[in-house]
Amino acid sequence: MYTLDKSDVEKIAFLARLGIDEQDIPEYATNLTNILDMVEQLNSVDTDDVKPMAHPLDGVQRLRPDEVTETNDRENLMAHAPETEAGLFLVPRVVE
């Protein structure tokens, strides 16, 4: 069994870009560890003949024909963007 520690929680929070309070970390660590424990139980089941499940619904994806159905709705779609210029969304500078 694997117990998550503080650094694991911090890494998960960073990857998900979540700001968390230092004081909550122990609780997150316990809860996340409990989830892993629950999933761990699967290891005691023989799943050799079970096909991997990609989706809980036992269906297949419907295919859309390759046709253009959307028209330009830029003004409407960008109306709630905090900042725009020349038809572009503006975001904090991404340094390459």
């Binding site: 990609a54 295919l63 038809g87």
Partner: protein, 477 residues
């Protein structure tokens, strides 16, 4: 120490679908920013992806063309990362169950032999938008028109041993997707992009060395250069006892060097999981077989046919078939004039030379297949000589117009009238009495001199065969 180079390529091919992979927005290139990005492409709350069957069809075509296993059931996964040109904060891709499994292609090496390169897999995914780093008051501009464009990522085995082999592989994949029409392969517009994994190992060692990944190389020339400078960089480090860091590197064409992109590296933990918004993609054996019947003749098969049926050399056939537009152009001309050799010589000679000089693709040639056919027909029916034809071709290229009107307006029609040629011959003989004496004294070689003078006097328009024949008769009489 002797080092062995190991290269594997990941090629991203934009599929030539009209609409996006998960939405009905247009994929046309060059539109005003964000005018072809709908709510799905922008990742607005509450939207759901609806999969484009056309992307599946084109992916399967590619798989069949490289003799790959086609997976009747494939699954989309989410690849999680944060970057502003990916508004959902994940890319929909296929990690665990790609649509195309193991296949292979043969590449042509410089020494004329072929080498089989394995394709590990090919999977469908969505493209990201574009970040514009020009100065927007210190901010970055985001255009999501490209977001959601259908991509096929083709992953090779680490089977290549030099930059040249990597380029040959890339060219072959490019040729195949263009033949199939699954992509326009336009590298300037980013429809065909390549990442290269490069590592070195001591010759004879089984185990691979640590690799680096060169990102987003978008021309054949740069692939070769980028890989070669990276090989040199790694060799320098290894020779001096250092170790290679596994990382992503960017090729800078201006400085001809690669440099680290560590900024992206630290978050390289994509936490893939099956996308709950999409059900498994299923294609039946019957549908696969149906798609198989729609495959066009591919470059290797066409090359073989040009050799066996048209009698072309292997080298010429290769050169004519690597690009589909070139092959189509050739076949159109060849069928009209029924002379494969002449069509091949002109295409690989005059036409290719001018295309190269002007950095043009065959599809943009000022002289199209119809135009060249019109010209070559006039050589075949003796209206003009092959030499004059080159002048006519130049005029067609530079000024436009068809061969017949240029021949007419410039008065280039070949002189085949015996008495007209004889008149010129007489003039030449009169004008060169000393040469005539020498010839009569037994200097047979001078026949060449007379042929040249007659051709010159006729401004190249006299039929060379006739000139020769008539001269022989005259001089020896």
């Amino acid at each position: 120490m002797q080092w062995e180079v190991v290269i594997g390529l990941e090629i991203h091919v934009q599929l030539a679908n009209k609409s996006k992979i998960f939405s009905g927005a247009s994929t046309a290139y060059g539109a005003e920013p964000n005018t072809q990005a709908c709510a799905v492409d922008m990742g607005l709350p509450g939207v759901l992806p609806v999969f484009n069957g056309g992307a599946l069809r084109k992916s399967v075509m590619f798989g069949l063309a490289i003799d790959a296993q086609i997976n009747e059931r494939s699954v989309f996964d989410r690849k999680n990362y944060f970057y502003p040109d990916s508004p959902k904060a994940y890319q929909i891709s296929q990690l665990y169950y790609p649509v195309v499994g193991k296949g292979s292609i043969d590449i042509d090496l410089e020494n004329g032999s072929t080498k089989c390169i394995g394709v590990t897999r090919a999977h469908m995914e969505e493209d990201a938008g574009k970040s514009l780093h020009e100065d927007f008051h210190g901010q970055t501009g985001i255009d999501l028109n490209r977001a959601g464009t259908p991509l096929l990522e083709i992953v090779s085995e680490p089977d290549m041993r030099s930059a040249k082999e990597a380029v040959a592989y890339m060219r072959k994949i490019h040729s195949i997707v263009r033949y199939l029409g699954v992509s326009d392969g336009n590298m300037q517009e980013g429809s065909f992009r390549c990442d290269a994994n490069v590592s070195l190992r001591p010759k004879g060692q089984e185990e691979f060395g640590t690799r680096t990944e060169l990102k987003n190389i978008n021309s054949f020339r740069f692939v070769e250069k980028a890989i070669n400078v990276e090989i040199e960089r790694q060799m320098d480090i290894l020779e001096s006892g250092g170790t290679i860091t596994q990382e992503t590197r960017l090729y800078d064409a201006d400085k001809n060097e690669t440099r680290s992109m560590r900024s992206k590296e630290e978050a390289n933990d994509y936490r893939y999981f099956p996308d709950p918004d999409l059900l498994p993609i299923v294609i039946s054996q019957e549908e696969i077989e149906q798609i198989c019947t729609t495959l066009p003749e591919l470059p290797d098969a066409k090359c073989k046919r040009f050799v066996t049926e048209l009698g072309l050399s292997e080298k010429d056939a290769r050169a004519l078939t690597s690009d589909r537009d070139m092959a189509d152009y050739f076949e159109q001309v060849q069928q009209s004039i029924d002379d494969a050799r002449m069509a091949a010589n002109w295409l690989l000679g005059e036409v290719s030379a001018r295309l190269n000089k002007n950095a043009l693709e065959i599809k943009d040639s000022p002289v199209n297949a119809e135009g060249l056919t019109g010209l070559l027909k006039r050589i075949k029916d003796n209206t003009i000589s092959g030499k004059i034809a080159k002048d006519v071709f130049e005029a067609m290229w530079e000024e436009g117009g068809d061969a017949d009107s240029i021949i007419e307006s410039k008065g280039l029609k070949q002189i085949t009238d015996t008495s007209a040629i004889e008149a010129i011959i007489d003039e030449v003989i009169v004008a060169n009495p000393s040469q005539m004496e020498e010839f009569k004294a037994g200097k047979d070689k001078l026949i060449g001199f007379f042929v040249g003078q007659v051709m010159k006097a006729s401004k190249g328009k006299a039929n060379p065969g006739q000139v020769n024949q008539l001269l022989q008769k005259k001089l020896k009489s």
